[in-house]
């Protein structure tokens, strides 16, 4: 509730407003924001309907309502006094400065890579009691990084907004799950197949829809994503319906199982078996897959096809007039992205050991898209940061037990995670529309590399 008043105040510095002192204006705007919060929250915070025997019952929660109003009032006041303070004058002029290419993103990338490589051992040494939990979380984050990098090819490079990315993730997961169930395939056999199947589905779905414009494309991909999920739920004889597929095998290490008993990994290499080995192994698999995604993306960006993707993102009409086959270019981006989702999907299936349509809802697509967008469209390192912040931050919420002492034992922080996720999506987008890492490094350069500032990237197009 921090928006009202800002824009109008910044845009119309007329005489009466100029005479008004800053404090009065801040107070007035904070009161408006508080009143608005009261109006909006009245039926949701102050009243609550609950099911009781014999119907529904309304209970009142005035305390919560007044607290919310007070928080919004105070927050708006603080924002006005300390944050928007200097923007009351003339609007900030957008400086068109060309910064020399900073080495920072490269250094950050290398440090992050080095840390990712030693991460399991880092946790095992420093947090011996909770290492399994932390490594499991790292696996989750790494899965989202991989999905983010995969979707980045579609959204960040080619500029096609895909809201149904999770469909290809589901295709990958189910192709491994079902081939393990019916054909007895192992993870490594199923992995290329899953990627191939997902890419094929990308082609099939992409072919009819890719001539649509930006936001239409988004909605149609969303529809396709939901359709695949509905089919997975209702095709009970083949996919198991809502019960999903269970008993999906774990990956082996060149035919050696990670587990107990003779012929297992520990037995051959003379290591005593510990359950953590399985997690460490899974972590390295997803790390390798993610790095493969990154490597392929970075290489493709230098090939003519990658340059065509980026050109397409900037201006489709110019592309077409320069003789680029836009349909094939779009299709290649779409199916390459889908292929990586397929890989990630089969990894997800092996990690969970169980898959059901519940894991592939629209929300999942929205989370992956949020990671790509918040990281800065097209920025590889930005996606890493966004995944760590968003997924790690959400998981962190589960463990904030001290909040229970403040708000009472019935307070469940995990309930709020999606709410906070959505808020973060809106706030970061409004605050930095180009994402957290908003500078873009050009893939192709004439003489020397120059960093492209966010304010220089063409506004308005890019669909």
């Amino acid at each position: 509730m921090s928006g009202p008043g800002l824009v109008s105040a910044a845009r119309t510095p007329n005489a009466s407003q100029g005479a008004e002192s800053r404090m009065t204006r801040a107070l007035r705007e904070a009161s408006i924001a508080g009143a608005l919060a009261g109006v909006l929250g009245f039926f949701f915070l102050a009243l609550r309907t609950d099911i009781v025997t014999g119907g529904l019952e309304v209970t009142t929660r005035w305390g919560l309502w007044f607290t919310a109003i007070a928080i919004v009032f105070a927050g708006r006041l603080a924002l006005n006094l300390f944050w928007f303070g200097h923007s009351y004058g003339a609007g900030k002029t957008a400086g068109r400065k060309i910064t020399r290419l900073l080495p920072s993103s490269k250094i950050v990338g290398r440090v992050a890579l080095a840390f990712a490589l030693i991460l399991p051992f880092f946790f095992m040494v420093l947090f011996p009691n909770r290492d399994r939990q932390y490594i499991d979380l790292s696996i989750l984050i790494m899965t989202y990084i991989m999905l983010g990098w995969g979707l980045n090819i579609v959204v960040g490079l080619a500029g096609l907004l895909d809201l149904g990315y999770v469909a290809f993730y589901a295709v990958g997961a189910y192709s491994f799950g079902l081939s393990a169930q019916y054909l007895g395939f192992g993870f490594w056999t199923a992995l290329p197949m899953a990627g191939l199947l997902a890419a094929t589905w990308g082609l099939i779905l992409g072919f009819p829809v890719l001539r649509l414009r930006g936001d239409y494309l988004a909605i149609v991909t969303l529809a396709f994503g939901e359709m695949i999920r509905v089919v997975l739920i209702n095709w009970k004889s083949f996919t198991g319906g809502p019960d999903g597929v269970s008993g999906i095998p774990k990956p082996t290490f060149f035919g050696l199982e990670i587990g107990r008993g003779s012929g297992s990994f520990g037995d051959v290499f003379g290591l005593p078996y510990e359950p953590i080995h399985r997690f460490v192994y899974l972590y390295y698999i997803i790390l390798a897959l993610a790095l493969l995604t990154n490597f392929v993306t970075m290489r493709l960006r230098r090939l003519p096809i990658g340059r065509a993707w980026e050109a397409l993102r900037e201006d489709e009409i110019a592309c077409r007039s320069l003789g680029i086959n836009t349909r094939n270019t779009k299709l290649s981006a779409f199916s390459t992205g889908a292929m990586f989702a397929g890989f990630a999907g089969s990894f997800f299936a092996t990690r969970q050991g169980f898959i059901s349509p519940e894991s592939f809802t629209f929300l999942e697509s929205a989370i992956i898209l949020a990671i790509v967008v918040l990281g800065g469209l097209g920025s590889q390192i930005g996606i890493v940061i966004a995944s760590v912040v968003m997924i790690g931050g959400i998981e962190l919420l589960r463990n904030l037990d001290f909040l229970k002492q403040i708000f009472g034992p019935s307070f469940e922080p995990a309930e709020y995670r999606m709410l906070i996720f959505g808020l973060a999506m809106v706030v970061i987008m409004v605050w930095k529309p180009r994402g957290l890492v908003s500078t873009r490094e050009p893939s192709a350069t004439l003489k020397e590399k120059k960093l492209i500032g966010a304010d220089q990237i063409a506004q308005g197009e890019g669909h």
Binding site: N234, V373, L419
Partner: protein, 309 residues
């Protein structure tokens, strides 16, 4: 035959609700060219507010005269939902006007997540059942198939829904075609920059568009609650996608198109469930969306879009 007539009535009822939501999509798309992804959730907000008003009036104040209760629920719900619509536009869309094309769509998705989870956290995740309030109806025809009697009945509930929708549609068409607000709206739709040069307050017009869309969504929310008797925080997503499909089918940007599209989608969904499979009724709606966009992007009543270089 009776079965067919009954399904026809059911389809028109459902279609009226979709049409009311679709108007919100189509007006916003017409004026700022974005898909207001959170609009389905505004509809859900409207349904929750109507439920709360309804319960407060009947249980706390003990009002038993149903028309008064329904009328008050309608008015209060429209009013408060309009505030929600206005705030969403103000917070999430206005700061991004003039930013790159996908930015508002992304905040809209974020806003949709926020609204769903806000309602889930504050009102609980369980469905809220409301016993049917308006019973009875007019029997249109009666017949028997294989010994079982099948009646085609137009219930009072359905009459109210179709009637209210019709009245609102007429009022809205007049608003758009006769008033100065409608004129500035049509001006902004054609050329926002030129309209602002000619003295149209563009920001205000856009805000009012969102307010009107939200108010209609609130009406749809109340009707949905009365018709189905259960609401939860998730109803907005599917209804939103279907209403958007309706808007596209009718030709996005066109008000009669949205209503026509809504009716068609309602009919298709009901007939699909009645004669084919209930499980795949959502797939039917989604397929129509894809087919229309691919083969007939300007819809039934829309104007073809010309891309200028």
């Amino acid at each position: 035959m009776e079965y067919f007539v009954q399904q026809l009535i059911n389809g028109l009822t459902l279609g009226s609700i979709y049409g009311l939501i679709a108007i919100g999509y189509t007006m916003v798309y017409g004026i700022i060219g974005m898909i207001n992804f959170a609009h389905g959730d505004v509809f859900m907000i409207g349904a929750f507010i109507s439920l709360a008003v309804f319960l407060v009036l009947t249980t706390v104040f003990g009002v038993t005269f149903l028309p008064i209760v329904l009328f008050l629920a309608l008015v209060v719900s429209m009013l408060f939902t309009s505030f929600w619509g206005w705030t969403i536009e103000r917070l999430a869309y206005r700061p991004l006007r003039g930013s790159f094309r996908l930015a508002p769509l992304i905040t809209a998705i974020g806003m949709s997540i926020v609204l769903q989870n806000f309602v889930q956290v504050t009102q609980g995740a369980r469905v809220k059942p409301l016993p049917p309030q308006i019973q009875g109806g007019v029997e249109l025809m009666s017949g028997s198939v294989d010994g079982t009697t099948i009646n085609a009945q137009l219930s009072y509930m359905q009459m109210i829904i179709i009637g209210t929708t019709f009245v609102l549609m007429v009022a809205f068409s007049l608003l758009i075609s006769r008033t100065s607000l409608g004129r500035s709206q049509r001006a902004c739709e054609q050329d926002r920059k030129m309209a602002s040069l000619l003295g149209v307050n563009v920001d205000r017009t856009i805000s009012l568009t969102f307010i009107m869309g939200a108010a209609l969504a609130a009406v749809a929310g109340l009707m949905f609650m009365l018709l189905y008797g259960v609401i939860d925080f998730y109803i907005g997503f599917l209804a939103g996608v279907k209403a958007f499909t309706a808007a596209v089918l009718g030709g996005i940007g066109s008000l009669p198109g949205a209503m026509l599209g809504g009716l068609l989608i309602g009919l298709i969904e009901v007939f699909w469930s009645a004669y084919f499979t209930v499980e795949y009724k959502d797939v039917a709606a989604f397929s129509i969306l894809a087919i229309v966009l691919i083969f007939m992007p300007s819809g039934l009543l829309g104007k073809p879009e010309i891309e200028k270089v």
